[in-house]
């Protein structure tokens, strides 16, 4: 079923530049295998079977943290992903763009006991942010993540407001309406920061390695999360450049 960002608050979209994404996946695999001191083979298999390298969830999490640092230091990830999905992101955030400084890498091996709990980013993040969820392997069923669309996110919020103690009622909305996303490698899920989302224990036989990163317009309202800490300017339009140059001179007189 097709979804629309405007109506549902999310959409699964194909990369504009699949070769760049394929290259990025190889870089991430290479970084991973260097950290693990392993010899790489076929990239899809290497990542799907990454869980075989770990004996405990703690070891897997330590690896994830090291990989996050490596990716942030060695790859211009905000710029790369924006360019890969530009035709889908630019209509949402415009020409003056902020990108999250450090992306979140998620590693979800089979039966890993700590899935991502149900939550929404906004609030506290700005409700003017878009999240790009990019898997490096094919994601389906429990190997993927779930989303409540705009309509049911709103229903869940209203239910919680009127029945704050009714956990069963809230869970019922979730069970009935949360959709597990089917996102093949080469595509990304882009979703609005106000949607409820999360993941469950991965019951498939393969690992999920994915990344999520946020974009917003430079001039859109701020959330509680400090924009200066979490975002950097990715690009500005020629008009914005002139305006900023003018203001800078005025304020430094």
């Amino acid at each position: 079923m097709n979804h629309s960002f405007q109506t549902d608050g999310f959409e699964i979209v194909q990369a504009d530049d699949l070769s760049a994404l394929t290259l990025l996946r190889e870089q991430i695999r290479d970084l991973s295998f260097k950290l693990l001191d392993k010899k790489p083979s076929e990239v899809d298999q290497d990542l799907n079977l990454l869980h075989e390298c770990f004996e405990s969830p703690q070891a897997a999490n330590e690896f994830r943290l090291k990989l996050t640092t490596g990716v942030s230091e060695q790859i211009e990830i905000g710029q790369l992903i924006y360019e890969m999905f530009k035709s889908h992101l630019e209509p949402l955030v415009g020409f003056d763009v902020l990108a999250q400084k450090t992306p979140n890498l998620v590693f979800q091996p089979p039966e890993y006991p700590v899935p991502t709990e149900l939550h929404r980013d906004a609030p506290a993040n700005s409700p003017y942010e878009v999240v790009v969820w990019l898997p490096f392997v094919d994601c389906f069923r429990t190997k993927s993540m779930y989303v409540l669309n705009r309509q049911f996110t709103q229903k869940a919020i209203e239910h919680y407001s009127s029945h704050p103690d009714d956990k069963d009622g809230f869970d019922e909305i979730l069970l009935d309406h949360a959709e597990l996303m089917e996102v093949p490698f080469g595509s990304a899920l882009i979703f609005w920061s106000g949607l409820f989302h999360g993941s469950i224990i991965n019951k498939e036989k393969e690992s999920r390695l994915s990344l999520n990163i946020r974009y917003k317009n430079l001039f859109s309202p701020l959330g509680l999360k400090d924009s200066l800490r979490y975002f950097s300017i990715l690009k500005t339009s020629p008009l914005t450049n002139l305006g900023l140059d003018f203001q800078l001179r005025e304020q430094l007189k």
């Binding site: 506290a124 309202p221 509680l224 999360k225 203001q247 800078l248 430094l252």
Partner: protein, 155 residues
Amino acid sequence: MKQYLGVLHRFEEKLYAEPGIKHAPTLEDQKKAINIFSQKSNGHLLTDLVIDDELIIGQSGFDSIISNNKSDGIIFFTVESLKKPNALIDIELLGRLHKAYEEMFMILESLSVTSRFEFEAIASKFIVNNECIQRDSSVDWKHLVQNSAISLSVT
């Protein structure tokens, strides 16, 4: 070896505004971070200064420090120390600091100013941030957002 002035920030005692973080960094934590940072930058901390509300309001403290400047650079734990009482970053002060110090760093925000180009990029970012804060907190903006939301829900 370079000499740096470290600037610690005494956060207000109310709840720390950052979601998911229970406590504001203590002065000790900040000093530790600044020490590590200065060592990594091949320098050492000449002295450190604690910014409290009084100094932020007056800003005169910064100017006397600037006029007696004996260090190569200044390391702020956070940009918060450069904010005026109205929560906006003081761009003029930033300009004066840039003239006085070869290098300027803000650890929490991962920002560094070591050239005119970097200064202009960071000052521009602060200007936009100030503009957004002013706009977001204005009554006119709240009315505009409300009216836009109503008209969008009608169409």
